[in-house]
Each structure stands twice: as C-alpha cells, then as structure tokens.
Symmetry: C2
Subunit: 559 residues, 2 copies
C-alpha cells in the first residue's frame, strides 16, 4: 500500500470524516495540469488524464474511463487502490453498499465545479451519505517533495495576433452582462482570461496561458487576480490588477447585485464566497466562450498562416518516415522538430499520438520513454499531432501505411475518408449544430456495422487550448449553432483492436457559403492523404474529384 | 368587433383582471379538440390547430405559427383581434410595452400544463406582470349555443389487437414507479389512458380515445376517472372506476407519498390539487409514453397487416386519379372511401392533405367545402392521408405528377426521394437517436441550398394518435434512443412557394439489423413512388436497386 494512502486515512480519522474524493485536476478545472498539481498521481500512482479517487477506511477506489483501464491496472499494482470504471461503476452505490448507514464524504471545493456539487448532492439524495466541503485539502500538507509551482510571467498577446483589443472585448461582453442585469462575471478558466485580456503564459504544458482568474464587470472594466510576481507587463487601463487573496473581497463588494458564476467551470469554493457574502448568483454558462469561439478576421488569417507553415513542416516529416529507422516517440519528436523551425512556433499543442500497428487502435495512445514501439516491417502508422504558433493552433492526424496494406485496411481507411470528405464538403443551413452533421461522418462505417467511440470534431482555440467549446461535431447533443469563424476538427476514425486504427483529421473553419442562408467549411489543414490506403472503387466520381483538388492545393502550399 | 371579445372584456373588468390568455386546446391538452371545446374559435374566429389569444382592455392578440399566418389574416378580419407570430413575437414583451406597470394575466389552470406555468412564471420574472389561475373559465358562461359534449361510450380494445393485458401493463409500469419511490402517476392524456387500460372511444376526431383520466399505482392497480354514462363495458379487476369529481380526493389520499405529475402533459390544475393536499410531487416525464412507443409483437403484426390493406386501398385510388375529374376534397374523400372498404377500418387518422399545384407547397394545407382546387391540366399533386384500423394506424404521403413534370420538379422530387431512401436503408448503432439520423434525409437538398421546415419523422401509435412520442427523427434535439418496435414516419419534403411541393412519406419500424449491435428500419408502407418524377441520373446504382426491390414488394402486396 502506498504511504500516501495510509497518511490520508489517518487524516480522515483525525478529522472524523468517512471519506475523501480527489479528482485529477487543479483549481482552474482545466484539461492540462502542472506537475505541482498532480495530486491524484501522488496519491494513487495513476497518471492518466482523467479520473478521481475515493478513499474510505474500508476501500480505496480509482475511477477512470475506458481509455485508461489497462494503464490503470498496471499503475495501481500494490498501490492499495482498486480500479473502477467511471462510466459503468457508480461511486454513490459503492459507498452505500459499504456503509449503508451513510457518512460524510469530504471534498476540496476548489477542485470541483458548481455543477459537480449539484449533481453529487442529487445523487446522494437517495442515500444516507452527505458531501462536505473542507477548507484545507489534506494533500497540501501530506505531500512531501512536491514540485515547485511554475512562476512564469504573463506575456502580452499582441493585437496583430489577437485582432481585437481587450478593452473592446470587455466592453462588448460587459454590455451583454448589463442586458441580463448581471453586474459581473467571475472567470475561473485561464484560457478565457487569456482570450479576454489578450495575455498568454507558460504555466501549463501545451496551453499557452498564465494561471490567473478575472472578473468582468458590466461596465467593461476587468479585475485580474494574479500572483504579482507573474506580472511584469503593462496592462490596458480598463484592467485592475488584484492579489489572488482579494477575490473574496471583490466578490463581496457586489452587494445587492448579481454575479454570474458559470456552473460548469467555476469551483464550488467561489460559489461559497458569494453565498457567504450574500451576493445573488446566476450560474448560466458564460457568453465569453461563444465570443472566443468566433474567430475575428485577424485570427482567421493567423489560423490560415499557421496551417500553411504546419503543412510545410509535416510534408517534410512525412517524406522521411518510410526510410526512417525510428520508434514511435522518435517520430513524435521528429514531427515537433520540423514544426519548431517555423516562424511563431512555441510548442506542441498536445503530446503527439504516434501509434504503430496495434497501438494505432488505441484512441488515446501516447508513446513515452518507457513505451515506444519500433517501426519496422509493414503496417499502419497513425500520427496525431499539433503545434502552438503565436498566430494559431494546429491539430492534424494522418494514417499511413508502411509496406502494402491489406484490402480490409484499405476498405476501412476509405470509409473513414468518405465520412471525413462528407464533412469537408457539407453545405448546411444557418442555425445547424455540429450534432446535426456528425452522422454524415459515420454513415459509411455504419453501413458495414462499424463506428468510432469518440466525437467527430472539437472546437480549437487561436493560440489557446486545442480543445475548446462551446461548439462540437458530436453524437452527443450540442445546441450550439455553427457560426462563421468557428474552427473545428473533422476527425472520424475506426479502430480494430490489437490490429490497426485509422483516423483522418483536418481543421476546418465555418464560413458563409455561396448559397444564401447556408454555411460551409473552409479547410485549414493541407497534408496529403495516403493514396496507397484509398480503395478507389468505393469512392464516387465527386469524391475522387474532391481528393484531386485537395492534393493540388497541398502541392501548391508545400512547394 | 366580435361580441365574444366585448363580453370577455366585461368579465375582466368585473373581476379586476388585466388580461386573459386562452389557448387552442382542451383539458386533455391533446392535439385534436372536440367541437364542444373549440373555445379559441368561438372567441376569435380563428380555426387553426395551434395558437392562443391574449385579451386586455387595450389589446386583443391571436398568436399562431408560420403555418397559419395567411389563414389567420383572413379569419381575424373585423374580429377585433390582431394577428401575431407565436415564434417571432413575444407576448410578455407586448404586455410590458402596453402596461409597463404590470398587471394580472388570468389563465384557466385546466388548459395549461405544469411546464407552461413554469416557463411563463420565469418569463414574467423580468416584468411587473403576474399570472393567476382562475377557478372558472369565463368562456364557460359566456358561450351561448355551445355544442354538446360527446357522450360516446368507451370500448374494449381486445387483446388480439393490444397484445398485452392491461393488468400486465399496469403491473410492469407500476413496479417502475415503485423503484423510483413513487406511489402513483396521474395520467391526464386520454391516449395514454387508452393504451394502459386497453380501452378506446370516439370522443375526438381522428384519435380513437374516450375522454378519461387515470391514476396508476405502484401496486399495479389503476383508478379510471370517467363520466359513468360513458362506461358500459366490464373492466379488468385491477381497475377501480371513479367519478371525475373524485380526482381531488384520490390525490389527497396519497398523504406522505409522492405522486408523479409529468410536467409536459399534466394540467396545472392537477398540481394545484396535489399542493392543496400537501402531497409530494415529482414532475419528470412519464415512463408510460416510452412503454407505449415500443410496440409488442402483436401490435407489430397488426401494423403490418393494416399497412397491407392500406396499400391495396391506395393502389386502387392512385390508379383512378389521372382520369378522375375531381377537386382536392373529392380526392381526399375518394381515398378515404377506398380505405373504408377494408377490414377493421374506423376513420381517417387525420384530415387528409390533398394539394394541387401551389397548394402542394403549403405544408399543412387542407381542402374543405369552401376551399378546394379543381384538378385539371398538368401539375404536381400531393396526397398525405392515413387510416385508423383496429389493428394499426397508417400515414402515407405520395407526390405525383399529372402530365409531364419539369426538369426542376424532377430534380427536387429525386433529391427528396434520395433522403427518404437514405433513412429507409440506414443501419445505425444501438443507442442512436432520431435526431442523429435526421441529416441523412436533408443532405441531398442542402447540397443545392434547399431544406424543409419540418421534422423528418414523428412517432405513430397503434390504433391511437398518428403523432406520438417520445421518439422522432428531427433537427431538434431528442434524447430518446430508437428501440426495436418503435414506429416512425420517414417524410422528407421540399416546398417551392406558390409553385409546387414534394413530400414522400412511409412509416417504418425500428428492428434489429443482421449486424450485431446495430438496428435498422423495416418499411411498413407499400405504395409506389411516381417514376415519372424520378431523375435517374441523380441516383446511384444502389438507390436504383433499392427502388426496384421496393416496387417489386409493392406489386406482391397489391396484386
């Protein structure tokens, strides 16, 4: 058993708590977490990107989804933790089965959203369990040799890349708040802070943001809560810089007014602050997310330019692969290295997925120092990678064959490609959501009884997170209509376990179509498809023409 | 000005009310309304199937949707009512603009659902208006010469058609309630009462139900609230017959327990009864709707059989059209007459839509005594009709050409047909919703900048309403997964205003596909498509084959 687990149990006993829940995540509730905040890994040994632990005196469970079941089994050996499936297993049922008389499950209110709190209270309604926010997360004291937090400074994101001044953004979004009788919106998500205030940073891997929070006022003024040591840049006069310790004070100054705390990405701790100060709250989603998703003309051009450089880098990298003696990780490094020679490049937009043969069938596979298959012989190689450039963010997946593919591999590749092409050329009425388009990408796989267990497309930021909302192309309902300027991925796939996987991904931008009342997509990514994997007899004339025109444009761009 | 309007205003003055809202509908909140309950038509003169009136001393507005704007303009002439668009215009804004200091808007709590009440309270939150339920609807006293209510009796729906005894249905749905700690569910919708208790009636046109309500207990017992004069049939022993006046008493007997009142189709008046008696309420949707939607094997066979007879009737009718000297209404009557010769036929499942030339472009057009175009010369004729048979309900639309169609008519017909065929042959994973399939039907129209402003498919009852939930194939989000046994329409269309409209509709039934984990549709309707309208160059080989096989089956069935 890990000493961390015993230490946590001792804390529970001393504090008369029956259990503690710890998610993988930090106080910014984001996707990427700095080493300093990897509390779940410290407690359990599990290093996957999603999950949570529940510890009681009787049990220690680590819940994670289908992607991480194998990895979880390995990492949890001798940890004292038992692996659970976060979709199939229910922690509230577990707790009730183990302790029918109930108990108190403690949680750190900074690590869970208002939504999480609501749903969990509801879940526990039919049990004798209760949840209780605790002021001090026990891990803070228990964790010896904790990594030091990043102390990188904030940087200005210049207008030539941002395309709109922060003052203008704050004024127009502030007036949206005013129309809803909301005095201020609290912004906990550093990527929203970064977009709204035109600042960037290096506090987490892959997402160029600085750890900071903000409050936007209906007047168009903004308060920025940031460690003063991180701020060595001059900010626009509409921004008031505050110490993070002043948040409660800023919130309590809104007496008699309403504060917006978006339930999905505001920590429960902030709601507590507002409630303690008797401030009225509104927990509807943030309007800032939608505003950010609609790229302005400068951002649109930046995205186009970044993708042209990305295309040139990838063309060079892909040319080398067939003759390269390398393992998966080396390929990932090679791709990053090619990107790094280009103007405005900063870092990878996520850890590259390079999967050889059976590994290509693992959707979230990622090679590392310990695990990295050597490319040799013939097979399928899947490469999903992207770059952060000052003027845009890229994300592209290509599946290629080394040696001669089988007929089955070609059929699957071609059916995935047909779906990808259907999204690329779709024309759809104004008001259409990404959910309405999703099936266009799946239909050719469904015909033969195949499918893929992920969305078809996610939103992408502009020198921000490679995953951003509110739009998506998904089989889950999403009520956000697609609007010109939104950028999404178009990435159908198909995975034959232990054999091979196919995914083909371009980024596309929503744009008005020639037909009044309709929209379509402009493709941003220009990297050739592998013609060896295309089974032409499955394609229509129109699809063959579509591929031909695309490959001509790739040639124009990379030469 | 209509005398009814002056009389209502007098009532408002006498009762110190500032306004009254009256919807088109009855106390059963259903789609079809008996003449006795056509209060909105009496008050305003408007006879459309959807809308509501708001009367104040200053204003009298009739709100209805896009379908009825033209008809509304005509019918409201000299009525004193002004026409409003129920989607584009907002009655709360109207009221606030006219009376900034607010007022009391009265409503009849029997004519509005719990959902309507909630949404309206929320709407009024930002105004100084309030809504107030009144005990007695003023129209009851004001309406002279009101039609006499239907006094038709209830009939048994025999097991050979229903396929499951009422006792079994009540036991399994009662135990679902028990699992949720719900003591009883109140059922206000006569079509749900009919399905659950295996009874039918003739109280409203087109839907074979009797006006009655019920309460299902977790024990599997049911109370039926029905006018005793309507009940001359023996009922199963698990059913307790009650006078409608005993509803409040039955509800108040649930002390200390929870009653389910589905918010979407329970009148607010029932919630008031429960609240007055201090009974706990749960307003989640009814599980009975989903159970009803999944047809059992006997109902499935009944649907197949009813559709075979329907196919024979329609084949005869369609053969006559080109040589028939007739107007639209006569065609509708002719179709109904052909159906009526067949076993188990009861009535039309809705008033037939027969549209000639420009009229075919009006989605909810319906010929009547006064308005009925004569078919002569060449043009497009759209016929949307259906039958109620004891063993099933049908609904079919065909668009045919009389004379030679234009290239434009053929292109549109063929694109609609391609969408219709795509739904017919779709194979999709278990768990797929109708919303995910909708775009398959629209994609070929979108390609050329066309679309249709209605859903692709609605659920269909089994000798019950031709429109039933919870499933649909729609561009609106619908989270209900398709399940084997559900019946839906498949009816894409396209409408060129003042010129012509095309709609092609079959009923289909969800069924397991040969591929494990996947579902597909079994087509129930067998009526030939008009080959004169098919532009073969727009079809793939696979689509041509699909049509050929379908036409072969039509021939087998009708000969």
């Amino acid at each position: 058993m890990r000493p961390a687990l015993s230490a946590l149990r001792q804390f529970l006993t001393q504090n008369k708590l029956d259990g503690f829940i710890l998610p993988r995540g930090d106080r910014y509730l984001g996707e990427y977490v700095a080493p300093h905040d990897e509390m779940l890994a410290w407690l359990t040994g599990f290093t996957g990107s999603a999950g949570f632990a529940i510890v009681t005196q009787k049990s220690a469970h680590l819940f994670t989804d289908g992607r991480y079941q194998t990895q979880g089994q390995q990492e949890l050996q001798k940890s004292g933790f038992e692996l659970r499936h976060s979709v199939k297993d229910k922690f509230d049922e577990d707790l009730t089965a183990a302790f029918p008389n109930g108990g108190i499950l403690a949680f750190d209110p900074w690590l869970h959203s208002i939504d999480w709190h609501r749903q969990t209270v509801k879940k526990f309604n039919t049990t004798k369990w209760q949840i209780e926010a605790i002021a001090q997360n026990p891990i803070e004291n228990l964790w010896q040799n904790r990594p030091i937090p990043q102390k990188n400074g904030a940087q200005i994101h210049p207008l030539k890349f941002a395309g709109e001044t922060s003052a203008d953004k704050c004024a127009r979004l502030g007036s949206e708040l005013a129309q809803q009788n909301i005095e201020a919106e609290f912004i906990n998500d550093p990527t929203l802070v970064a977009w709204l205030l035109n600042i960037r940073g290096r506090d987490v891997p892959h997402i160029p943001v600085v750890h900071a929070r903000a409050m936007l006022h209906a007047s168009g003024r903004a308060e920025l809560f940031i460690d003063p040591r991180k701020l060595n840049i001059p900010l626009d006069p509409h921004i008031d810089v505050r110490d993070p310790d002043d948040m409660a004070q800023s919130i309590s100054s809104l007496q008699g007014k309403t504060i917006r705390l978006p339930a999905n990405n505001t920590p429960y701790a902030i709601l507590q602050m507002a409630q303690d100060a008797n401030i009225k709250t509104d927990t509807a989603p943030s309007g800032i997310m939608l505003a950010r998703a609609i790229k302005n003309p400068i951002e649109q051009n930046g995205m186009r330019n970044a993708h042209r450089r990305d295309a040139i880098a990838l063309a060079k990298a892909f040319k080398e692969f067939p003759s390269l003696v390398a393992n998966e990780l080396q390929i990932a490094q090679q791709v990053a290295s090619h990107r790094s020679h280009h103007e405005h490049y900063v870092e990878e937009s996520f850890p590259a997925i390079v999967g050889w043969r059976g590994n290509s069938a693992i959707v979230h596979y990622r090679p590392d120092d310990k695990n990295s298959a050597k490319i040799s012989g013939s097979g399928i190689l899947l490469i999903d990678s992207g770059g952060q450039y000052l003027d845009g963010t890229t994300d592209v997946t290509r599946t290629i064959t080394i040696g001669t593919p089988t007929a089955w591999q070609k059929e699957i590749y071609t059916r995935v490609l047909k779906g990808h092409l259907a999204i690329s050329r779709a024309q759809f009425p104004i008001g259409t959501t990404g959910s309405q388009l999703d099936t266009l990408a799946r239909q050719y796989l469904w015909e033969v009884g195949l499918d893929y267990d992920h969305g078809t497309g996610h939103g992408v930021g502009s020198f921000l997170s490679v995953h951003e909302g509110p739009q998506s192309i998904s089989n889950r309902a999403n009520s956000t209509a697609l609007v010109p300027g939104m950028v999404l991925s178009n990435e159908p796939g198909c995975y034959i376990e232990n054999e091979f996987g196919v995914r083909i991904e371009n980024l596309v931008m929503v744009t008005p179509s020639a037909q009044t009342g309709f929209l379509c997509f402009e493709t941003l990514t220009f990297v050739a498809y592998d013609e060896n994997l295309i089974e032409k007899s499955l394609l229509t004339e129109a699809e063959l023409e579509q591929i031909k025109i695309y490959h001509q444009r790739v040639q124009q761009i990379i030469q």
